[in-house]
Symmetry: C2
Subunit: 268 residues, 2 copies
């Protein structure tokens, strides 16, 4: 059996930013929820893994925002696995308007870890054997080490964060989306008032836990690009590395400079 | 015309805390959204007020949690105005399970301020003249100065907060729910691991703005009660004062000690 998950969601006020655009963290929550449902359908949900003493860990995530959904709009969030390998499973997402316009899309790479040692293990057979949906057009796999990791990082802004109760999810882990909230809040506000994210490319490096103290840092690379890092305050250990690409409000997506991926298109 | 707003909501994972209970901030977002819809139906929405150079300000809010909704549960959030006076308008909320069980309820007091001077003004005629629904049983009006304001406040825990981009709502104000997030994150984590909020009583005292630095403080009064205050770091100006009442997990609501309000009951 193959499964494609489609969630239909109407955007509430609290999902939106100061300009009535769906916020990136809210969208990522929608995506994660749809992914959880799709995993349940495949019998590879968090509980299915927990009974085998393993768990999911998000390693890579890249989001492309073509057109921001706005307050009151109804969208569909679609997700499915695109491939399973010895160590990794890949999952794509699309966000569609009522008329099928592709508003946003994402691709992601996940690994499985042993809950006792917290280290990566080969994909268990019950996951490895899943059958991906037919007729899909998978996005290219994200590189484990994208080239932005080699770019110079000249810190521009920094925010200190203490991991709080509200960032802990039902799996007693820090929600993957919390990192993006910290990242966004480390960015200069004037920048946020005049630009919107066109692309966000995330490399998850290490877990963090309740009460951990973190530094969320951002560095401006150009008018349309920033680099970000979140690290443990005491050890300096990297938790998240990221690159964001931005455009001014109301401009068309910077498809030309994004490169390498699929252009905005219409789906079913 | 009278209007009762009913929103039907299925609880997502990201609405829940580490124990799969609907989080209080998520519930307050649901309530605020339902209130906005009800206000629109009455022609007293934020935009209706903005054209007359006035705005809504929340002054008092008291939430009682009888039974926590959990992940996957479908609830109804019901709200309506209960009375309008020269300076204040009152609004009640109920949260109902599928079978009509009252899971939570809240009551609130709102005022209108002039957008130029940011000071309270008498309720404009177009609001004053609204007709509240028939057949409702309003909760008693909350006192403007509840007695907990006179209790000694011996600070136990403190968290420093800088008002960030994600706390700003579509009205370019700090979302009322953000204060409650800061309050909750100022509480000792061991406390949060073993108890749940039975009642939360809020007094909103002053606005805050993007980049403001705040101190969120909590003080334990007894095994089942804390006091909270949020103040501006520099001026010490009070932003929010609150009292929370708590119970251990799985215990029945502390109806006896809550006093003064309506007991859990079943509605329609």
């Amino acid at each position: 059996m193959t499964h494609i998950q489609t969630d239909t969601i109407t955007i509430n006020g609290y999902d939106c930013d100061a300009y009535g655009r769906l916020s990136v963290p809210a969208l990522m929550n929608f995506m994660q929820e749809a992914a959880n449902r799709n995993a349940l359908a495949y019998g590879i949900g968090i509980a299915d893994l927990a009974t085998r003493q393993v768990g999911w860990m998000l390693m890579r995530f890249r989001l492309r925002m073509h057109q921001y959904p706005t307050y009151g709009q109804t969208i569909r969030v679609v997700t499915y696995p695109t491939a399973v390998e010895k160590y990794f499973i890949y999952r794509d997402f699309q966000v569609l308007a009522d008329d099928g316009t592709l508003l946003a899309e994402a691709t992601s790479t996940w690994l499985v870890f042993a809950t006792d040692t917290r280290t990566m293990v080969p994909m268990p057979a019950f996951i490895r054997s899943l059958v991906v949906p037919q007729g899909i057009t998978p996005q290219p796999h994200l590189p484990a080490k994208p080239d932005f990791l080699n770019q110079a990082f000249v810190r521009a802004t920094e925010k200190l964060v203490e991991v709080g109760w509200l960032s802990i999810d039902m799996n007693h882990h820090v929600n993957n989306v919390a990192y993006v909230q910290w990242l966004l809040e480390s960015i200069d506000h004037q920048w946020l008032h005049t630009r919107e994210i066109a692309e966000l490319d995330l490399v998850y490096r290490a877990e963090c836990h309740l009460n951990d103290r973190l530094r969320a840092q951002s560095a401006v690379v150009s008018e349309g690009e920033q680099l970000h890092r979140i690290e443990h305050s005491e050890t300096g250990k990297e938790v998240l590395l990221a690159r964001s690409r931005w455009r001014g409000f109301g401009l068309s997506p910077l498809v030309g400079i994004l490169g390498g991926g699929s252009a905005p298109a219409r789906l079913g």
